[in-house]
Symmetry: C2
Subunit: 441 residues, 2 copies
């Protein structure tokens, strides 16, 4: 054996989301040393983030420390740190504090955020939902809007209709709109005395001609009517063209609102561009069929950061099952390299998709079959609890859901934050009732 064969290759993974975790798990039994680097100490179970944003679950119930998840992997080290650039020739990652992490193989799986279509200043007014911090911020704004309406009604007799706007009719937008309509009509109704929370408007704007556009037409149609059953106003073919404090412009119409949430567009992690290879408009890296980047067989990009066409001509979708499959596939190609076997091209296997809309409401496509309403919702419920990482979380979430289902109560209705965060959220909600607003109309 020569020196090179004796030294175990170092695999560095950037990102502890679904792609990075599945890669790390697949590498656990290979003769490699793995270093997983993430900016956060925890993995977030993103499919349930909207439940934190709408006060059903607590942050701790959908997140788990990454080093806890991987603590049995003897070849794996987890590091809290922010990768900012790469030296492909010297084969190392540079962290934000200048520290250097060398690699033989690199797997970049740093995900994506929402894109504001060139209007990044909208983010303050209309937060997206990608991290636990986002979810807590959205929860703060939604609950604070009800609190402030109650206060104005009680102290000044000022009765006005609360309006929540959700921009984007994909799964996240639909989940948020459905859940807000649900808490306004059920969970909060008994606790507020000066206002009738059930009169709150929830408006969902979607630019295309249907919501949940990745589903078959009839399921998408069913999703829309299930949303409307919950009281959500669904406006299709509607583009939001301006967002100001307290109002949004849709086409030529200004709509006053208390809270705006953003759930559309994709902006891949800037680490894609930092790799110095071609990216698409959303910043996704155009990867090779074996998931490596052009010209660097030892660097893989996976998950929402990657852009890859399937044989069908459709792109691999930016969903968590695709990220998991890519993580496993990148690890398998590293294993093939170690055994000097040829790499295999990645093939995405669509095992089905589902979207939840609200209590007892969902749609699903599984194994060529379509499901709507309560059955689809039950399937969604069990699959999500099943995949939730960590036994404890699974149990705690089941208890919360069972409790919420029985009592229609929301257990995590906390408005937290330091004075600055609360002040900012208050300012944004207050903007609607500001005296100069009527003049601007």
């Amino acid at each position: 054996m020569n020196d090179i064969a004796m030294k175990r290759p170092r695999v560095v993974i950037i990102g502890g989301g679904f792609g990075g975790l599945w890669a790390a798990q697949s590498l656990a039994r290979l003769p490699v040393d793995v270093t997983l680097i993430d900016r956060k100490n925890h993995h977030v179970f993103q499919p349930l983030l909207y439940q934190v944003a709408t006060a059903v679950l607590s942050p701790g119930e959908i997140a788990q420390p990454i080093r806890r998840i991987l603590h049995r992997n003897k070849n794996t080290e987890v590091i809290l740190g922010e990768a900012v650039s790469f030296d492909k020739d010297a084969r190392h990652v540079v962290l934000s504090d200048g520290a250097i992490v060398p690699f033989d193989y690199l797997i970049v799986s740093a995900g994506a955020r929402h894109a504001y279509f060139g209007n990044d200043d909208w983010e303050t007014e209309a937060p997206g939902l990608k991290t636990l911090e986002d979810a807590v911020e959205i929860r703060r704004r939604v609950l604070l809007a009800f609190e402030m309406a109650e206060r104005d009604a009680y102290l000044a007799g000022d009765q006005r209709t609360l309006t929540f706007v959700v921009v984007g009719g994909g799964p996240t937008g639909v989940e948020l709109a459905g859940a807000i309509a649900d808490i306004a009509r059920k969970a909060l109704a008994k606790d507020f005395k000066a206002i009738d929370t059930s009169t709150a408007r929830v408006i969902l704007f979607e630019g295309s001609d249907r919501v949940l556009g990745t589903f078959a037409g009839d399921l998408s149609e069913s999703g829309k009517s299930q949303l409307e059953d919950l009281g959500v106003e669904v406006r299709l073919n509607s583009f939001v063209t301006e967002i100001e404090s307290g109002r949004v412009k849709v086409g030529d119409e200004w709509i006053d609102c208390d809270v705006v949430l953003w759930a559309t567009g994709v902006a891949a992690s800037p680490l894609g561009k930092a790799l110095g290879v071609a990216t698409d408009k959303a910043g996704r890296v155009l990867i090779e069929p074996d998931l490596s980047i052009p010209g660097c067989r030892n660097i893989f990009v996976i998950g929402d950061m990657a852009s890859l066409m399937q044989e069908s001509g459709e792109p691999v979708p930016g969903v968590s099952p695709a990220a998991m499959q890519m993580g496993v596939a990148a690890a398998a190609n590293i294993a093939r390299d170690l055994k000097s076997e040829p790499r295999q091209d990645f093939r995405y296997v669509n095992k089905g998709t589902m979207a939840t809309i609200g209590r007892s409401k969902a749609i699903a496509e599984l194994a060529g079959m379509k499901f709507k309403g309560f059955v689809a919702w039950l399937m969604w419920l069990f699959l999500h609890v099943f995949f939730l990482i960590g036994f404890r979380n699974r149990f705690a979430v089941m208890f919360e859901w069972f409790w919420a289902y029985l009592t229609r109560e929301r257990s995590a209705r906390l408005i937290t934050g330091d004075a600055e965060e609360l002040g900012e959220a208050t300012r944004l909600i207050r903007a609607r009732s500001a005296p100069d607003r009527s003049e601007q109309k």
Copy 2:
């Protein structure tokens, strides 16, 4: 009946802690209208705050929306707002945004924070533990210190001993020190690979000659040795005289440390001074025996904000049972006014005190009897679950505790916060390893 008798008196309560909540509950069946005003939308079960700070429980498990707790009280309105001043003659409260809330009776129960003995700039370096935000900040710093030590050890081979300093040997300081020692030795040990978390030092500084000074001498002695069993270094007669980033000065000795927590001193809410009556050095209002303030029979001050001597010559202690009893007593005196009966003086009934030190470790004095160790800990456990507000929380917390007891795992080990919060916490912990530190010594 005349006009005055027909109009229901308005009782305004400032603060939704134990004092304010117990007052509101006692007023629920009286012919009065109650308005409870709090800066937060939630009541926090303060005795369990240290469990959030040490990652056992999630914020949602020890907090409940105030309007949820009181939602059955038909005469009670809950308002999110910050009282800033009072007009005693015009009988109204002024909120931070200028809104005016009129009252016939006022009960001020806005609590206290820790005092930094004139060194308010120490708060950034050494946070106290009074709110959920405080608890999350402490959790962030404690977990981040371990993460950064792991990272330095892995990337740079830099092995150093983590040091946690807790200032103040009262119940909060003892609980924090015990819990940090416990997670370092048990919960985190298996998850960190480059460092041995069990070598972390936890030092508790107490200015007097014993910890838990409100307990009998032998219990206090037992508390100290139980702490030492957990690995905490207890230093009595030790005053912290300086705090800088990364180190504290105790007497003439500088001690390097990664995290400093503050758990001593009392600074009553500034609302006491805003009432324009005499206060003690800690800002507590010197109240009359019927809990009203001098010269204003319709204004009561209760809880940690109030200073009152018992017949024994001892002051009523600043503990939650005293705040609850005062809340009930203030409401009872209002009820007596309504029936034109004479008011009664407040008498504090000490039903016993207990302090927890760690897993299976506690001390208690109940009904003249003294308990130590496991028995005291079981009593503490059941009493705290029993008093925890809200059935759901009670159940969830029992589950968490049972789980933590069985597995020694900590379920809420999340480092959250926006970039600014994390950056600040990182800077503070990093300070210790800064190159200019050695020169300063």
